[in-house]
């Protein structure tokens, strides 16, 4: 399915030295989002009152409330992506300076 780096052919010795693989910030953020999402679901499902309350709250939202929830989701996504991009930039610069 995937190839390990160990099986790759040796790089051309004349080529410029390649930067070391960086820590995958995007993957870490995505993994943390998944963990948080699963944990939230677990918390909701283990207590029926909390779950029913959350669903009631969601279904009882006014149109303005739905828009606010949508904006919240979009805002969170944009912020996460931006922070990831910032860290990646810092990584790339840091790697180039070395």
């Amino acid at each position: 399915m995937t190839t390990d780096t160990a099986t790759l052919p040796a790089p051309d010795p004349q080529a410029a030295p390649l930067p070391r693989p960086r820590i995958r910030v995007g993957a870490i953020v995505w993994g943390l989002v998944l963990v948080a999402w699963g944990a939230l679901a677990l918390r909701l499902m283990t207590d029926e009152g909390t779950r029913a309350g959350a669903i009631d709250w969601l279904l009882g939202l006014s149109p303005l409330g739905w828009i606010a929830v949508g904006l919240l989701a979009v805002g969170a996504l944009v912020t996460l992506l931006a922070i990831t991009a910032l860290i990646r930039r810092w990584q790339v610069r840091h790697g180039a300076a070395r």
């Binding site: 190839t3 995958r24 870490i28 995505w30 993994g31 963990v35």
Partner: protein, 541 residues
Amino acid sequence: MATKPPPAAPPTDEQEHDEQEREAPAAPPEHPFFSWLRRLDVPRRPGWIGGVCAGIADRLGIDPLIVRGIAVVIAVLGGPVALLYAAAWFLLPDTAGTIHAQELGRGRANRALAGIVALAALSLLPLAQGFWYLGGVYWGAPDWASTVGRALWTAVVITLAIVLIVWLARRGQASAVAPDVTVTQTPATTDDRPDTVPSQTAPTPIVAATAAPGADAGAPPPPPDGASAEELAAWKESQAAWQEQRSRWAAEQQRDERERARMERERVRAEVRAQAAVLSAAAAAEQAERRRVRRLTRPRASSAAVFAILGVAVLAGAGVALASGSSSAAWALGAATTTILIGAGIVIVGLARRRSGALAFFGLVAACATMIGTLLPADRELVPLSQPITAIPGDADGRWAVLAGGTTVHAVAGDEPHVVDLWQAFGSVDVAIPEDATVRIVVTGGSGDNYLSGMVGGAWTEGLLAPSGRTPRGENRYDATIGEGEPDLTLHVWLGASNLRILLVDRPETMPPVDPPLVNLYVETPDPMPSDPAQPEGENG
């Protein structure tokens, strides 16, 4: 050749040049659309069918099997994969740069087109539309309407796409050929300049019609002025023989020219092919280098690590689900556990400076499953989506959750009252009530009218349930009892984007009492009688 006349015929440069321009496959400028397709840099590669999955996998730097697997899964779930695949096969260039659409637009068809057409036709079959084929039943619309509509729409889209592509390809080609027109208008022979043709002194119509420019060498000398009739006849005879000889020569010459032009075309084609091969080899080498650098600077997690994480996550999720019972909450708990473990695996892999698209993808799937599981009511049995119509017995207590489809609840008259609680997100709910049964129906939510219908006393009767209040969430609430006495069945229904129908199934002679009465009662009388004695609720309409 012994009969070859003197080389007086002019060269047919024009013809040669023209044909060469028309048929030589020298890469003409193309429409920006095709350039854009090439710039996407997703060339089809040698693969199983058209190489589309292999091309996408190569572009993403993942294994083709992953892309093929995802495509098959989406196809099984009813996504239009066959159609999209056919489109990609048709539009994407291969490694040599050939775009089938462009070739077809230029009037050149090849064998791959048969495969593309077959795949597109396959996508029109209901079989390939999977889940969505049953959409009409699931979402409450008449099924034939959605099937016909979808087939028509697909046909329209395909037709429009073909027209657009042919137009684009032709346009690109027309602009490529246009400049040559000015070249061919310049005469390369004396055909268009009759003044340069040596005049024939004898005014014979045959000669005037067939004489080729510059081809009079070797012609019999014209008879002198004042020649006798015999001399003139002899001259005519020799002139005719010469004409015949010359036309033979011209035909031969033309054949030679054609042969030369054909060989020249073949030479150009071979050259172009060789150039393409060199270019494609260079592109392949460049791509291999890119891939090598990518693998070194952005290595992937090993398949062992990916499978280990997925395996542990699935095992743990299934274990939690099994331990939590059989309600829909168990599925949500299992999915949540799987999501958490895949998320943790992604974090570990990321910290180890490895990337894994497969883990990210399966994490997304698990997160979606978790969300759906959380929204489902936790206190009841979830009916799987394996069938479009779900029958729920009305002679036993039960709590059910149905995501989509048509659900029928069959009420039964009996000694013992029963309570059925139904949660229906999409689709429709039918409650079938026989003549001798009494049913109390408590409905909350819903997106449309809830109504009762059936044949009563030979007339079609239909009326809406009257809302009896609102829930704290602001949903409509209906609480109606159909029939007399204590209810045999009390049915609680929560409706999402769905509505409820009550069907009188026994063709009763008289309308059962409905409390509160129906609104907008509609009775279709087949006979001229204005009022039906079997309709005690008629005045409520």
